[in-house]
């Protein structure tokens, strides 16, 4: 065990925490900002240093340990100790968390650097610069806690931490009421998911405890999952339609609860509604939290708990279907949005759906692969969009953009790389990861309707290519539709902004080769070219499907073709024949309006859930129970009765003569003594 101990791990999350605390505490106590250079050094230095440590440790992990013994543990101290139960505050670096840590610290560092340029001109909020970076560092710390946590409780701390930071950063410009509301929405919707997650933790812990092993530690649970595999709970009558009635596997139930948590954090149906509104935050936040890292936490969690999901086929099917439906559904909404960041947001939801589809069909390494490539190209797209927004003076409506190719050449080039990558054009990174997912879905014979899942995924790929290129054409080509004043001031962004764009563009191009499928590798004479898959396999332990190369290449060709078809359609409609668009929209107007209004899901929730809840809270809970019963009868009632009792009768006992009090005291004392010695 000792060769797995590694005290360096703690510094990976700790450095951002130190930076956040330093700048935050300074801000709280002095009420003025540090010098800019210090803020930048602190804020960017911490994640970069974490990244450096992570790289060193991951290299050591990959090279010095045998494949099935590949993990480092850093045990800080025993956090909770209650009876037999011990929860350590400890960090675990295994291949799964290694990939995530590299993504979070690497992409995170780039986004920190970008944010320096992006927030530089922000004059909206006094002391906003340092506050922003304090939050951002705090987020990095929480995310790293989530990833590196060695047990569910530490993970949960990180899980809540990222939720908090997300709330703080979405509502960063809180002086605008709309932003604050969006932050609240994200927070509340996340709470629903978190509740499910917590229930899942409790269920797992309870079942392990009843099996005689109170633990929440991942490796211990994975090794002893057999103890709880056959536990089940009785179902109530109204759930008789479920398969397996009257009993439901406890593991399935726990996994479903965990999945609800994942739904909330990763914006899946039905809890996806917060993510598009989360775009109210500054763009680096959208890139870091709502595209690259936090929203993938749900995927990561399911991969981390893969030992449980693998034994709960019902939960797996739910995950896969939810993912596929979300992917398709969000992609259709993306077709008709006009806000640059919202398009990207729906595309994020859609891509997250892909990841869940992969996780659901037990292709965990593919899911993580897509998390990684998605982090590259979606962060790139968001950052480039941020650059556009900066250039357009905080204009986000794509109907008022256009023709930016010549005005912002670097942004244009990198954005185009991102669009191609997400559209799945080989050999860009998106192609490989998406292709792997679709292949896995196609081959997942254990999931009901696996071919339908594949078909939905395929259709989504086409839609994705279409709406991403629509976005690209509307923003960068044609004539500028902005007003003259804005047009005159369009400018390319500073180096702070462009440097991360270029790096991420590079990664978007080559990122796919980390997980180049073995079939492709063999074409070039490389054995086991899917290094990511082989790196992750010991941890996630996914079933391997033997697929003949013809099927694999055939499916890939089909995916590529669908993607290219989407691109072609977008090119036709938004580049060559823009005048056709209005006609088509008019022809299908009711459908178009429905899609443009996001299927009116928000309104539906409002009517079905928010308003009834609000009504009950205001009308019954607040007025009747709180004000009437608790305040009226309880607090004020007791106070009033005591007051009237004192006012009416008892106050006359207070005569004002000290000696009468002393007499009462002595009398009481005498009686007490008399009672004590009554026997003798």
């Amino acid at each position: 065990m000792t060769e797995h101990a590694n005290a360096a791990l703690r510094w990976i999350p700790l450095l951002p925490l130190v930076a956040a605390v330093l700048s935050g505490v300074w801000l709280v106590f002095t009420r003025r900002e540090l010098p800019r250079a210090a803020v930048i050094g602190l804020a960017c230095g911490a994640p970069i240093a974490s990244f450096a440590i992570a790289v060193v440790q991951v290299l050591a992990l990959a090279t010095s340990l045998p494949a099935d013994e590949r993990f480092y543990v850093d045990n800080l101290y025993t956090w909770i100790s209650a009876g037999d139960f011990h929860a350590e505050l400890s960090f675990l670096l295994d291949p799964l968390s290694a990939v995530m840590v590299l993504v979070v610290t690497g992409v995170g560092s780039l986004i920190h650097i970008y944010a320096v340029g992006y927030m530089d001109d922000d004059q909206r909020e006094d002391r906003g610069f340092q506050r922003f970076f304090a939050y951002l560092n705090l987020f990095t710390f929480s995310m790293l806690m989530l990833i590196l946590g060695d047990n569910l409780l530490v993970m949960f701390v990180g899980w809540e931490g990222v939720g908090l930071c997300s709330y703080l950063l979405i509502g960063f410009w809180f002086l605008d009421d709309y932003n604050a509301k969006c932050g609240q929405k994200a927070f509340v919707v996340n709470r629903i998911g978190d509740f499910g997650f917590l229930l899942g933790i409790f269920l797992l812990f309870w079942s392990f405890t009843s099996a005689g092993l109170p633990t929440v530690e991942f490796r211990e649970m994975a090794a002893n999952i057999g103890l709880v595999a056959n536990q089940s709970v009785e179902l109530p009558d109204w759930l008789s339609f479920l398969p397996g009635y009257p009993r439901l596997g406890l593991l399935t139930l726990a996994c479903l609860c965990l999945f609800i948590g994942a739904c909330g954090k990763s914006a899946q149906i039905p809890l996806y509604v917060w993510l598009p509104d989360a775009m109210a935050g500054p763009t680096p936040v959208s890139a870091l939290i709502h595209a690259a890292t936090m929203v993938t936490a749900g995927v990561y969690m399911i991969c981390r708990m893969s030992f449980a999901f693998s034994l709960a086929p019902g939960a797996q099917a739910t995950v896969a279907w939810t993912g596929a439906l979300t992917a398709f559904f969000a992609a259709t909404i993306g077709l008709a949005q006009t806000d640059i960041k919202r398009v990207l947001a729906y595309s994020t939801v859609s891509q997250l759906g892909y990841m869940f589809l992969a996780a659901g069909v037990a292709a965990y390494s593919s899911a993580i692969f897509h998390v990684m490539t998605h982090a590259f190209f979606k962060a790139l797209l968001f950052l480039a969009a941020g650059s556009v927004i900066l250039g357009m003076h905080h204009e986000q409506d794509i109907t008022r953009m256009g023709g930016l190719r010549t005005r912002m050449p670097v942004t244009w080039a990198t954005f185009l790389v991102g669009v191609i990558a997400i559209a799945g054009v080989p050999p860009f990174s998106g192609f490989f990861s998406k292709d792997e997912i679709l292949l896995a879905a196609h081959e997942a014979h254990g999931i009901p309707g696996n071919h339908l899942l594949w078909l939905i995924g395929l259709a989504t790929a086409g839609l994705t290519a279409f709406y991403m290129f629509r976005l690209y054409y509307l923003v960068f080509t044609g004539q500028s539709r902005a007003d003259h004043h804005t047009q005159a001031q369009i400018h390319e962004s500073t180096t702070w902004v462009l440097f991360p764009l270029v790096v991420l563009a590079l990664l978007s191009v080559i990122g796919g080769f980390f997980g180049l499928p073995d079939a492709y590798g063999e074409l070039f004479g490389v054995q086991e070219s899917n290094s990511l898959h082989h790196f992750l396999q010991p941890v996630v332990n996914a079933p391997v499907h033997a697929v003949d190369h013809a099927t694999e290449f055939g499916l890939a060709a089909l995916t590529t073709l669908v993607g290219l078809a989407g691109i072609a359609l977008a090119t036709l409609l938004y580049y060559w024949r823009r005048d056709w668009v209005a006609g088509i929209v008019a022809a299908i107007h009711p459908l178009y309006a429905l899609v443009r209004d996001k299927y009116r899901i928000d309104e539906l929730y409002d009517v079905l859930i928010v308003r009834p809840l609000g009504g009950i809270s205001r009308g019954l809970l607040a007025r009747v129970i709180d004000q009437g019963v608790i305040d009226g009868l309880g607090v004020n009632g007791v106070a009033n009765s005591v007051r009237s009792l004192g006012d009416g009768a008892l106050k006359y006992l207070q005569t004002g003569f000290a000696q009468s009090y002393i007499f009462a005291m002595l009398l009481g004392g005498a009686l007490l003594v008399a009672w004590l010695v009554r026997g003798t």
Partner: protein, 102 residues
């Protein structure tokens, strides 16, 4: 010590305590009342020390010591109160200070 034992000391303590209690109740001079309280405290101390001797354990003496600390503090604060009382109301009669009622 012959025929004298803990009982005799306890009786002395009881007598002094009762005298103190009586003084607190019947005297109207705040300072004398205060002295009577000191008498009661001392009676309690005597009782404690006597029991300490009877049990052969010095805990009672320690308790008496701590009672003395409390008494010292009480006297310091109490006399300060009396000083400010006399300064403000020019009286040491307890019956003149009966405004704190109802």
């Amino acid at each position: 010590m012959g025929d004298v034992s803990g009982f005799h000391f306890q009786v002395v303590a009881a007598l002094i305590f009762m005298i103190g209690a009586l003084g607190v109740l019947v005297r109207r001079n705040i300072i004398v009342m205060f002295m009577s309280i000191e008498l009661m405290l001392n009676a309690a101390n005597l009782s404690l020390v006597s029991f300490s001797r009877e049990i052969g354990n010095d805990q009672g003496q320690i308790f008496a010591f701590l009672v003395m600390v409390v008494a010292a503090v009480e006297v310091a604060v109490g006399l300060a109160i009396i000083i400010s009382l006399v300064r403000n109301r020019d009286t040491v009669n307890i019956e003149d200070t009966s405004q704190m009622k109802w």
